[in-house]
Symmetry: C2
Subunit: 431 residues, 2 copies
């Protein structure tokens, strides 16, 4: 098949019949493929298997006789240092918690919602409050807002990050309390915020409500896998200190995509005042985090250098999978910026390839793929409330399947793209 | 010194001078003793050291290829079975989470507060809501209510459990949404609810609001250490099933006082409907618990029998410490039910000895002890909002110090009790 799209109806009809045949053939094969969630594959988590048993019977930490005991709400000192390096934050402004950075995000928001932050009334008492949601974004971020009745304003995301003119204008409304950011290898667009974007983010606190916070999710801080990947974004907390806006940011990180997806360690870095506020409310909910697992992590990864070395192993596993995605798409659909069937990116880090279908066909593609045994993230999932106004964004997560499976899944995906596109064009032709 | 209390003023004055001298001598010794929190001591947690490394490189579970991955919001099947045994609940009604049962309690309450439970409006929209608090109780339970603005009604606690006549009358008020219970070796009174009490608890759902819940904290389910300890309380969930009140209870447990205090595993058991409600809200806050640590626990403790065997080691460490508390007090203050200086109990399980001072002297005792280097839980901590109307309850937690330290701490404690008592009696004499 050619990678072009015929323009006359009879040729389109012939192509559609051919593609329907191809789709039926896929259905016959009884495949069970999955490109849904962005999680490390089995070979990746196995790289950290030494975590279990890493302590060799020595449970003592830095200034802590025995990490098996209660307490230590802020985490063990050496874990706070490690995550301080990762998040570019002073250890004393870094809290290390349990296995989930999502939980830390939820807690920041729910505490502000229930109790207020920055000396302001609780968000629940302020009438309608709103978060800015650069889109496409991470569905689990959006679900937190949805669960608490926080309104969401989608904002366009360019190669440089969110449209900062729009952001700056929006935050002048005191009902705007937050913005969701994945600044490095953004989920799912793969973009990395530019230095200018980060600088303007750091200054938002000067024009926003006193209880506005930037939610800075560094989930993919050291997750580059291809040469030429951009450097980590500039040190947001330091920029904020220079402009006296330190209270306006919450930074999050975790080892979920470094050690074990479900058995890692997560952290929060922010201003000293915010951290005091957070720990005061956190202390009501728990006696402290699992310090033993924190100790395991620092024994295996004593510093940022060790983390980066470890991530080379991840990169070696991810690189060929992402290369397979691009090469199958290029072979079947043409060039990623010129194909008549859609656009996609070739990120140098992170966990996702973003595919933009012809407007109005993403849901159909996901449906066609499901019929042939390929699970994709639901169309619209990358938009607030699951509503993609253009029905165009599809998130592809190729980390878990084998390279052979990725190739097979992408060949099937490309056929679904082509079929949906041809059917849409025919429909426009009145065919 | 004698264990009696003189009745005439001059003798009291002489005794007071003597006791002040003794207190000053304690102060000279520069001691640093701590009987505050009820946590396992270093030798206890060391009994479970094999947890780290327990997996021997095999991270696969029951129907789960790899516990290192994401997901599994309800916990791994074998951990749900184990905690089902511990909480006397069907595995499919048992959720196993992270390291903190307190967090599960907070989540139950905050989800009901934010979103409502049992098809009722959110608690935050129902005006004043209230929890019943059998007292003395666990300060961290009370702090959850306090943080969310939930009113608390203290209720008397007898050797049989809470006064069930009072409880049954109170729950007929639809503003009453919960009751805090530690039914087995209650924190801190050490009492075990009687079969009748448990039976009446199971039926509360018949007369309470549809969103009323019993919070049943089985923190010390298998934590007996002395012969003649009462059996586990009757199976609450089964009793509830018989009276169709299964939705009215939340059961909690953890291995915090079995394996590692901070690095254990916690669980929640309840009705199928409640569990569905809980997981729906939980899914917004996290992708899932640390399944690797759950797997470590079931490898070390495959069933309830293994847990009980393990607890024999704990009992051997706790028994002499509790015996030391009683023997020092008996030697210095007389019989625990007849002493002129106060009353105390001799629990056969759990983590606490409850001491009742002469009314109005508990805070003074804690202060005197602190001056001489002995940290005690603040007076009043076992009451809602930290307010003990009689200023009489002191919680003694002897698990962490060595036996020598426990003896020393209790000798000092007894001297503080005697000094505070004599001073109080003298003050009453107008002396």
């Amino acid at each position: 098949m050619s990678t072009t799209l015929p323009s006359d109806t009879p040729a389109l009809q012939r192509l559609e019949a051919e593609l329907r045949g191809a789709h039926a053939a896929w259905q016959q094969r009884g495949l069970k493929l999955d490109l849904t969630r962005g999680k490390p594959g089995p070979e990746q988590v196995a790289l950290a298997s030494a975590l279990d048993g890493a302590l060799g019977g020595d449970f003592s930490g830095d200034g802590i006789d025995d990490t098996r005991g209660y307490g230590g709400l802020l985490g063990i000192p050496e874990a706070r240092r490690l995550f301080g390096e990762l998040l570019q934050a002073p250890p004393e402004q870094t809290l290390v918690g349990g296995n989930s950075s999502l939980q830390l995000m939820y807690q920041c928001i729910s505490f502000a919602y229930l109790h207020g932050i920055g000396g302001q009334p609780p968000w629940r008492e302020q009438g309608a409050v709103r978060f800015l949601c650069p889109t496409p974004g991470y569905d689990r971020h959006f679900r937190i807002c949805e669960a608490l009745g926080i309104e969401m304003t989608p904002l366009p995301l360019s190669e440089e990050g969110p449209d900062m003119d729009a952001v700056e204008e929006a935050v002048s409304d005191p009902a705007v309390k937050g913005i969701w950011c994945v600044p490095h290898f953004s989920n799912p667009s793969g973009i990395c915020y530019s230095e200018e974007t980060v600088g303007r983010m750091a200054r938002l606190g000067q024009r926003a409500a006193p209880d506005f916070r930037v939610f800075w999710d560094l989930a993919y801080a050291i997750h580059d896998f291809a040469p030429g990947a951009p450097e980590l974004p500039p040190d947001l907390l330091e920029l904020c200190r220079q402009t006296k806006t330190e209270d306006s940011v919450f930074l999050f990180g975790s080892t979920s995509k470094i050690s074990f997806a479900g058995g890692g360690v997560a952290a929060l870095a922010t201003s000293a005042d915010n951290l005091k506020w957070f720990s005061r409310h956190l202390a009501v909910t728990t006696v402290g985090p699992d310090k033993v697992n924190q100790l395991r992590h620092v024994r295996l990864f004593p510093d940022l250098h060790a983390l980066r070395e470890h991530m080379r192993g991840h990169a070696a596993l991810l690189r060929p999978r992402f290369a397979a995605v691009d090469s199958v798409l290029a072979d079947t659909l043409g060039h990623r910026q010129k194909s008549p069937y859609g656009r996609w990116n070739t990120p140098r880090g992170g966990y996702f390839v973003m595919f933009n279908t012809r407007a109005g066909t993403a849901a159909t593609v996901v449906q066609l793929a499901a019929e042939a045994g390929l699970a994709l993230t639901p169309a619209g999932a990358t938009w607030p409330r699951g509503h993609d106004p253009d029905d165009s964004d599809i998130r592809i997560a190729p980390s878990v399947p084998s390279i052979t499976e990725v190739k097979q899944a992408m060949a099937l995906f490309a056929d679904c793209i082509r079929l949906a596109t041809v059917q849409a064009v025919l429909a426009e032709h009145g065919g």
